[in-house]
């Protein structure tokens, strides 16, 4: 199995597998980047509503095309139909949230379920109309990635490129609206239009990816990469890039993995690879990951002991706590017999000064909003602006020499 996997990764496992891998990667990139702004705008599940709202459109398109004598399964027609009803669903969500007292999540859930229900009605109708011929429409729920045709790949490539291009072109207004909608409006951007653009991009990707990845799974590819990428960076542009990267990676690796063994349906495997990347990010991303937080906490503990030890030195008190002694000795702040070194005394003086400054800061009610920085341990220069610090020192008054 693993040799096949390796072959698949290198696009050596046959034409079909290679096509699926590349197609899935492209779809992943498009979905990841397009979904990022939806996630940043805190509307992740609108993608679920959009995906489910495509179903009636597909049914209606099928019926119309068959009624007009054409091929009911014509891809272009189906895509058009799905786009139209999804757009209608999207507009309805916006309208319900705006015009009634219902909250946005209720609007999303209502559109999602009702459109989907109506879509199911149409599907059962089709079932009775042309028995058996609609078999292809079933795959829309779960996707038929492995059955990707070259033309599907082309659609994904072109559509995906357009989507990514649109994200790039609109990145500034979308970032602004996601961060501070009032300011965006005051700056002259039409927030309503930008929101429609954000959701429209998601709609586009959903329509493109529907046949390949299926309803539920396209939602996964729109949301998970962005959420995973968020752990790695504090800059919006980098989140977008990271999301595209994770999406593409999941698509490619997932497709290769699924080609290497039987009974590994491509769509779900891609999503699970993406979920795995998410878990890795959650745990191991530096700064925002869980492990990083734990390490920071550990370092914090060391610093607390260090600070307590230094303050004890500054006040000429004896240090008893074992961990404190260990930390102080490790940093050459005390000698083996517990007497402070020169460096130790200098550091102790600084610690005392900082301690007094922090007292003033707390009195001045800076603390609001500064969270972990105000642990009383971080060098105060790194947390206050120059004039804030000047004000603190002014209140501190003249400094005295620390004995010991």
């Amino acid at each position: 199995m693993w040799t096949t996997f390796l072959d698949a990764l290198l696009l050596q496992a046959g034409y079909n597998a290679a096509l699926v891998a590349v197609g899935a990667a492209l779809l992943g990139i498009a979905a990841g980047t397009s979904g990022t702004f939806l996630v940043l705008r805190k509307r992740a599940l609108v993608s679920d509503a959009i995906a489910h709202a495509t179903l009636p459109g597909i049914g209606l398109a099928f019926i119309c095309m068959t009624a007009l004598g054409g091929d009911g399964r014509n891809l272009a027609g189906l895509m058009l139909g799905s786009a139209l009803t999804a757009a209608a669903g999207l507009l309805l969500v916006a309208w319900i949230s705006r015009a009634t007292r219902l909250s946005e999540d209720a609007a999303i859930g209502a559109v999602l379920s009702v459109f989907f229900g109506f879509g199911i009605v149409l599907l059962t109708l089709i079932q009775t109309m042309s028995s058996g011929r609609q078999a292809g429409l079933d795959g829309l729920l779960l996707g038929s990635t492995a059955g990707m045709l070259f033309q599907d790949g082309i659609i994904i490539a072109i559509g995906g490129a357009l989507a990514v291009g649109a994200v790039f072109a609109l990145r500034r207004p979308m970032t602004l609206v996601a961060f501070d909608a009032d300011f965006a409006k005051a700056s002259g951007w039409n927030v309503g239009h930008v929101d429609l653009a954000i959701m429209g991009l998601v709609l586009g990707v959903a329509v493109i990816g529907l046949k390949t990845a299926g309803l539920i799974l396209i939602v996964a590819m729109l949301i998970i990469p962005a959420v995973a990428a968020r752990f790695w960076t504090e800059r919006t542009e980098h989140v977008v890039l990271g999301a595209g990267l994770f999406g593409g990676l999941s698509g490619y690796v997932g497709a290769a993995l699924s080609a290497s063994a039987p009974a590994l349906p491509t769509g779900p495997v891609i999503v699970l690879v993406c979920a795995f990347l998410f878990v890795l990010s959650l745990l191991f991303a530096p700064i925002r990951g869980v492990l990083a937080s734990l390490l920071r906490h550990r370092r914090f503990q060391v610093r607390v002991h260090r600070r307590q030890g230094l303050l004890a030195l500054a006040h000429s008190e004896a240090v008893h706590d074992r961990m404190t002694l260990a930390v102080l000795r490790r940093d050459d702040l005390i000698r083996a017999d517990g007497v402070a070194t020169d460096i130790g005394r200098a550091q102790a003086a600084k610690a005392l000064l900082d301690e007094r400054r922090w007292e003033i800061v707390r009195q001045m009610q800076f603390a609001e909003g500064l969270k972990a920085n105000f642990d009383g341990l971080t060098p105060i220069e790194g947390v206050l602006t120059k004039d804030e610090l000047a004000e603190v020192d002014r209140r501190l008054g003249p400094l005295s020499i620390v004995g010991g």
């Binding site: 599940l45 999540d105 209720a106 009702v114 599907l123 949301i223 349906p265």
Partner: protein, 308 residues
């Protein structure tokens, strides 16, 4: 029409009604707490739940399925809470990550498992099979008094009736704490109400209703019942008691009309076969919501968000 109705339509309609009510009741509180989409999440994770149950027990019997689905719902809620806190992620995104991954996992397991011996119908799980819950043993209306016929009722009926009664009972029992903690959680806590327990209890009740209902109407349609009747009711009144009342009415109407339109609508329009009852029920509930959005007396939003 009489005997045919009793045999073919009575039980499905009853089951539809009971399922709708069982979902609409907790839905009232979910939408007030802006937790409407937890129903979405629960509905999607029943699939992996029943697949795991099937893998573990080897049967498609209802009880293990329901336990599996309930277990999946609980795991999903725990996972969502966990990654929300650990990752500082907003609720919608957390739900999206968890339920899509679990759903994908369910599909994968389904594919991997040996389904040659027993048929596990994914479509059924998602879309339900209300029309097939017919009462073979009934002859006509007198069968309602016939213990032999009653014993042969489709088992889904007493099951959903029990769950509906349970949910209704819990709603009645915990009415005041639910009302207060939904309106003002901080205040409720100061009164000694265990708000966290109420929250968890509400979600579990919703999960139980969802799981019981999905057997009849499928999981996706369950969201419609969680949201549409209560949302429409919310637009009709400002009082919680009245809202719950309206939601029950709307749920019943959706179930009845939905079933009737699905079964007889095509016939009236010249077609021959029925369409999905569950889908039609969801559609009707949506139409009711739409009408409420357009004409409901309390539909307008008041406050700063109003002008935009």
């Amino acid at each position: 029409m009489g005997s045919e109705f009793v045999m073919l339509s009575l039980t499905p309609i009853l089951i539809g009604i009971l399922a709708s009510i069982a979902c609409a009741l907790p839905g009232n509180f979910l939408i007030l707490r802006r937790q409407a989409l937890i129903g979405d999440a629960i509905s999607h994770v029943v699939l992996p739940g029943i697949v795991v149950a099937f893998l573990l027990t080897g049967t498609v019997a209802s009880l293990p399925m329901m336990i599996g689905a309930a277990g999946a719902a609980i795991i999903a809620v725990i996972l969502i809470e966990t990654i929300k806190r650990l990752g500082r992620i907003e609720p919608g995104a957390a739900m999206g990550v968890v339920f899509t991954s679990m759903f994908a996992g369910g599909v994968l397991l389904l594919e991997q498992s040996d389904t040659s011996s027993v048929h596990l119908d994914v479509e059924h799980a998602l879309m339900g099979n209300l029309e097939s819950l017919i009462w073979f043993a009934a002859d006509d209306w007198s069968s309602l008094l016939d213990p032999v016929a009653l014993a042969a009722l489709p088992p889904e009926l007493p099951r959903i009736a029990a769950v509906c009664a349970l949910v209704a009972g819990l709603t009645y029992l915990f009415w005041r704490p639910l009302k207060i903690s939904t309106f003002d959680e901080g205040f409720a806590r100061t009164m000694g109400i265990p708000t966290t327990a109420i929250s968890i209890g509400l979600v579990i009740a919703a999960a139980v209703a969802a799981v019981a209902a999905f057997d009849a109407v499928g999981s996706i349609i369950v969201i419609a019942m969680f949201i549409c009747p209560p949302a429409a009711a919310r637009l009709m009144t400002n009082r919680l008691e009245v809202q719950v009342g309206w939601s029950t009415v709307f749920a019943v109407v959706s179930a009845v009309l939905g079933y009737v339109f699905a079964g007889y609508g095509p016939l009236w329009l010249g077609g021959q076969h029925a369409v999905s009852a569950a889908g039609m029920i969801a559609t009707v509930s949506g139409v009711i919501l739409g009408l409420a959005c357009l004409f409901g007396p309390q539909r307008k939003r008041v406050g700063e968000a109003a002008t935009d």
